[in-house]
Symmetry: C2
Subunit: 457 residues, 2 copies
């Protein structure tokens, strides 16, 4: 009898996930059920696949959700994180394994004792970021430790960008996933990390001015800004004694400096509504954040307020967005500044059907081995195929799919609510990802840390 | 039989309030009961006054609170705003009038129908700001309207500062009320106001760079930065059609520009704890917010980060606080940045026993009368006598005391949960405040608005 996989949510990032299951459906004896609120959006070749059936499913309806989960062997939830709790509770009740690409919520973490007792695997954070970052980092960290090395620095950066061949605007950026998350990125708390043993804190309004540069051979220069809380990873990765711990987001060089204009103006604020937003011109929108003047232009007021020089390329970036248009208007009523800005950006930054995205990841591992300080850098670049088969969908979906199969096949057995940081989990998946072109290039670097005086060799 | 006034909370700002009741206790036939959690702090001349008795009262103990309220004729609550709700509920139950200097909370606003039905007066926001600002503004606005004028601009600023004779530091500032409120001022929401018919929004990280200057004859120049929400006053003051509406906080010139350094660094953040704060030097505290460097000094890193010129007086202001001291340390464990900064500031900015504070208030009223645009400015300066009898205590306490007496004497009769914006309330109190030296100087100004082209005359 076929093993039954239930996939909840067939949104944008599930193309590779579904293909993987169906490509393996015969050899692995799989039957796939896809439950989605709007199943009409699912591609025809999937809908018509003999090993697949589709159901309209409202995850908030307890009866139909429970029934679907009860009749599966394993559940994959690609739903928004807030919808995972009820799914996880059902999985526990009906003794089904669960796989998600989302951060573990407190509600799900609490289930751990019962999940262990039931000998179930609830695998979370096994997409791209979180996911591939955990696995690739732990693989190197374990390798360093096995050689007797002691970790002293870990930095990790991920970015969802546009492929070089379609990198055609001044921002070197297009939306390749949820635009809203990009607009509000960095809000909701001061960025915290450790540098050479010292805690460092960056408030949101300085976040995009504290970047560092990163090079990837064949792809040029990138920049990284700090994620909200790097300290969490001390515990998860066993890096309590590390001197430097930093997690960041990658962009092309110059993005952050220009984005900072929106931050400084207050345009990324999502905490209040503009009551007269509907029909407001982009130009009027900008003026909300500038001092009043009866005579001076909005352009000059903005240049003066943020001290933008006449010949600064940042200015061209704003003009490229039609930010000063008196005719283009905000369509949404009672929009927050962030929602209005999102509309403006989506008009310029949306990927066309034939355009490709790009995922980049960059790790730095500093360690001490036999009295010497060393550094290993590892980076990964994945290019998308088209707007459906994106690098984002590939890097999120494949690890989820592989973990699901490995649980079904008894290759992942340790029970509990977990993330992929054990060799049992990451070992086979990283190997299999390489076969799909998702691989890291490693190279030994000089250990620079942040103390040039103590450079090795 | 004496009329019984119950005063709940005998904290710092109650000296004038209690004196007023006791000074009038014979002529007005008053008996005062003071309920406080720590009554030992109450001055001896009050404790020993024949018309006064003191009780230890924990406002959270329902029985003793209810009993105290039940035996009073009117209740004055000088407690923190979060403790008002239970007091108000008791007052409603036992049919007692209530007076507070606090903003009306939603919980208390909800009581309005029942308060009206019971023919009770619950007077709120009748201290300084809110309080004297409401009364003095509405008195002028009503006067302008009675002459047939139409309001087009209202700006109002208040500041709690140090008296000129004790204005001895580079910041021209000392704490004259709750230091914590000063450190976190402006947080908790974007500042919103209207300027010449256009909404304007200022995010917190720009708030202290968008000041305007104000002159008070005999006292020199001040500056004002925007309060959080000026729009609320449209409804309350009946200013729905006004073109400009702005409420702000007054400081001496240069304060805001220097304070902005703390804001930019992230030192005023109260949302997270520094886990190793205890014993940390001021210098190390500053370094938490600066990029790491193995060689550069904290001073140079800070100058470079915030682009502070060599000869900028802002720098001397930081040094005056001993901000770069390697020996002075933060005493609190797990302090938030705001708590650590507060400690540093309190060491420099605390008023000595013999020093005096100063309250300043500045209103601008723009209006159209007989086809002409006009402007009336009104300002008030009140100086403290000493550290107990402060200008703050006087301007907060006297309106509260006067309103209490006027309610007892049947001069304020309109029932309901209210603020002092009706002539019935503000008329007699403003007159009486003048007798205590709390008065506004008015002068006709050119209507400037923010459109120099349309200046009258």
């Amino acid at each position: 009898m076929a093993r039954k996989i239930l996939v909840l949510g067939a949104g944008k990032s599930t193309s590779y996930l579904l293909d993987f299951f169906l490509d393996n459906s015969v050899s692995q004896n799989l039957h796939l059920t896809i439950g989605d609120l709007y199943p009409n959006n699912i591609a025809k070749d999937i809908v018509n696949h003999p090993h697949c059936n589709i159901m309209t499913l409202n995850i908030m309806e307890n009866e139909s959700r429970s029934k679907a989960i009860q009749s599966a062997d394993i559940v994959v939830s690609m739903l928004p994180v807030r919808l995972h709790t009820k799914v996880a509770q059902d999985c526990l009740q009906f003794k089904k394994h669960l796989v998600t690409a989302s951060y573990i919520s407190d509600a799900i973490r609490k289930l751990d004792p019962e999940v262990r007792e039931s000998n179930l695997v609830f695998m979370n954070e096994i997409g791209l970021d979180p996911g591939i970052d955990h696995m690739s980092a732990m693989e190197v960290i374990d390798r360093i430790r096995n050689k007797g090395g002691k970790m002293i620095l870990f930095e990790s950066f991920t970015g969802g960008l546009v492929a070089p061949e379609n990198d055609t605007n001044l921002w070197n950026y297009k939306f390749t996933w949820n635009p809203r998350n990009v607009v509000v990125a960095g809000q909701g708390g001061t960025a915290k990390f450790i540098q050479e043993g010292t805690y460092k804190y960056i408030p949101y309004h300085k976040l995009f001015r504290r970047t560092e540069f990163l090079d990837i051979e064949g792809y040029g220069k990138f920049e990284g800004y700090a994620n909200r809380d790097s300290l969490w990873y001390r515990e998860a990765y066993g890096l309590q004694d590390v001197l430097t711990l930093y997690r960041g987001t990658m962009r092309r060089v110059g993005f952050s400096r220009a984005w900072n204009i929106f931050v400084q103006l207050g345009m990324t604020d999502d905490s209040y509504q503009i009551e007269n937003s509907q029909g407001m011109s982009y130009r009027q929108f900008v003026n909300l954040f500038l001092p009043y003047s009866p005579t001076d232009s909005i352009e000059l007021k903005l240049r003066h307020y943020l001290k933008i020089d006449q010949d600064d390329i940042m200015w061209e970036k704003l003009e490229e967005l039609d930010l000063f248009s008196a005719t283009k208007t905000i369509t949404r009523a009672n929009a927050t500044p962030a929602q209005a800005l999102q509309q403006i950006l989506e008009e310029s930054w949306t990927l066309n059907d034939n355009e490709k995205d790009m995922i980049v990841m960059y790790h730095k591992f500093g360690y001490e081995l036999e009295g010497k300080k060393k550094q290993l850098d590892a980076n990964m670049v994945v290019l998308g195929e088209n707007r459906t088969h994106t690098a984002m969908a590939k890097t999120v979906g494949l690890p989820v799919a592989m973990a699901t199969l490995n649980i079904l096949n008894g290759k992942i057995t340790s029970p509990g609510v977990q993330i992929p940081i054990t060799k049992e989990v990451y070992g086979p998946i990283l190997t299999e990802l390489e076969n799909h072109g998702i691989k890291f290039n490693e190279f030994q670097a000089l250990y620079l840390g942040y103390n040039p005086d103590s450079v090795a060799s």
